[in-house]
Amino acid sequence: MLNIVCVCHNGMGTSMLLKINVNNICMENGISASVEACSHGEAAGFLMNADIVLTSPEIVEMLPPTDAVILQTTNMLDKATVTELLVNCVKEHFPNEM
């Protein structure tokens, strides 16, 4: 089971829609994952157990230090882009989870 965290500015809107997309992507591709959404200001707690972080490039430098794999895209709500990023990442770093 992978822990995926979606991060935006307030953890309410964009990261929430992203979380819904990621849940669907995981289901469609047979990835077992638990997905959370949060703001970068409160990310420290969420990132402790995270395997993958999904966010936008301008937020990356504001994230607390983490061992998780960070995936970034300017268009967080484009499902095709996120699917490609996520599936490739899981294949490369977590091949047992698919």
């Binding site: 809107g13 964009t14 200001g41 504001m62």
Partner: protein, 450 residues
């Protein structure tokens, strides 16, 4: 039979925590999810509603102490600017007259009906020209909640008419303004099929239209220039909220003086005699208020996350060709420098606005906070820069800040709340709608409720 009717009408469908659970459960089942997933989602939504209530009541008690102290010392009416606490402040006023949980219940029903109206308006897009489905659940629930309060306050209507009128108003607002932004949003994202569905859509549209007259987007594009990253800490939502609270508390303490602070420490205030040192007491108040707001937000996030899943799934299934109206922050990755500069110029506008309120002797003072400060300035900034460069951004974001303050002061004067949205649609369009509803109520001789 009457027992079952009473159970359904008074103990299930009017209890927000159960009502929401049922809606979420149906949503999951309609999306062909497993029953166990549906149950987990339903329970999480229930918990979210209760968490929101806990944050809301703690916030209104604690913030109330501060506002009362200010009023006792100066006669000024204070109000904070934040979206989520405005919704719950309206709910609390309705509950005080209509009974516990009624405000939230009406708000939730309005959300469901308005969403259906939104879908219908888009389904009839050949005639209505409305093409965007509004999917920003966190803004939707706030907007429905506040509309219900405004309609109920001035028209004094019962449950069903209040819900229907509120839903029509809100659905038209969603549809018209998010559709207006489809074209400029496409330019900003380089062709992505989405539009902004948030709470500063009117000012975004103004920026899109006015910015080309102020500057040259090719020559003055801020995205091609360098900005220092030392201002990043201001984008931390929790820290920025705390900063606003510290400044507000410190200013209020300076105004109310030593006796006022002692009263604030006493049993009629925060009841915290142990904090003898005023600076520590000030920090404690500011941190407590920030924490209360965070709890409120965490609750909203918990149930909105569950609701949005169904909304998104249902609209994609029924209206596959519609444009998705999403959170304004979805654009931020495309123009990160406009976000920072827009935020700063908007904040400056708000600060100048508050100073003008105080200097001109306005009976209402406002306390800015993160959500209206950050999301309005940043989003208007993106539209202004894209279509007019950084000079247009500076002018338009500063003006947005001013408008937010003056418009919100008008709204607080009409609505008598301790919080107001602060976001610019609610300092422009919705001030006008409120004034119209108030006028209709007065014409018909309806007494103002709550």
């Amino acid at each position: 039979m009457s027992y079952i009717l009473d159970l359904l009408l008074n103990q299930i469908f009017t209890q927000p925590f159960l009502l929401l659970a049922i809606v979420v459960f149906i949503g999951y089942v309609a999306m062909k999810q497993t029953v166990s997933k549906a149950l987990i989602g339903a329970f999480k939504a229930s918990i979210g509603i209760i968490v929101m209530g806990i944050g809301s009541s703690a916030l209104s008690t604690n913030f109330g102490h501060l506002l009362t102290a200010l009023r006792n010392a100066t006669g000024l009416q204070g109000a904070g600017l934040n979206t989520y606490s405005t919704m719950t402040a309206g709910f609390e006023k309705m509950d005080a007259v209509l009974g516990e949980g009624v405000g939230t219940t009406w708000g939730l029903y309005t959300l469901l009906v308005a969403f259906i109206f939104n879908l219908i308006l888009v389904a009839l897009r050949k005639w209505t020209k409305i093409r965007a489905v509004y999917l920003t659940g966190n803004a939707m629930i706030v907007q429905c909640g506040i509309t219900v309060y405004i309609v109920w306050r001035f028209l004094g209507t019962g449950m069903i008419p209040t819900i229907l009128i509120s839903a029509v108003l809100t659905a038209l607002y969603w549809g018209i303004f998010s559709t207006l932004l489809i074209k400029p949003a496409k330019v900003i994202t380089g062709g992505a099929d989405l539009t902004v569905a948030h709470q500063q859509m009117f000012m975004d549209f103004v920026a899109y239209k006015v910015a080309p007259k102020i500057g040259d987007p090719q020559k003055d594009d801020i995205e091609k220039k360098k900005l220092p990253s030392s201002l990043n800490f201001l984008q931390d939502s929790i820290l920025a909220t705390l900063l606003c609270m510290i400044i507000a508390t410190a200013v209020i303490m300076l105004v109310i003086g030593g006796d006022g602070i002692d009263a604030l420490r006493g049993a009629d205030g925060f009841n915290q005699a142990a904090y003898k040192n005023t600076i520590i007491f000030m920090l404690w108040i500011a941190i407590t208020l920030t924490a209360d707001l965070w709890v409120l937000l965490a609750g909203v996030r918990m149930f909105v996350g569950e609701l949005m899943m169904s909304f998104k799934g249902i609209s994609e299934k029924l209206l596959p060709g519609a444009v998705a109206g999403v959170d304004c922050a979805a654009l931020y990755g495309f123009a990160p420098k406009s976000v920072v500069l827009g935020f700063l110029c908007g904040a400056l506008g708000q600060i100048v606005g508050v100073i003008i309120l105080i200097v001109t002797g306005s009976p209402i003072v406002l306390i800015p906070s993160f959500i209206p400060l950050f999301f309005d300035g940043a989003t208007v900034g993106i539209f202004a820069n894209k279509f007019g460069g950084w000079k247009a951004l500076v002018v338009l974001c500063f003006c947005t800040g001013l408008i937010q303050i003056f418009g919100s002061a008008l709204a607080v004067a009409m609505l008598d709340l301790t919080w107001w949205q602060g976001v610019s649609d609610y300092a422009t369009i919705w001030v006008a709608i409120t004034a119209v509803l108030k006028g209709i109520g007065a014409l018909l001789g309806i007494p103002v409720a709550g």
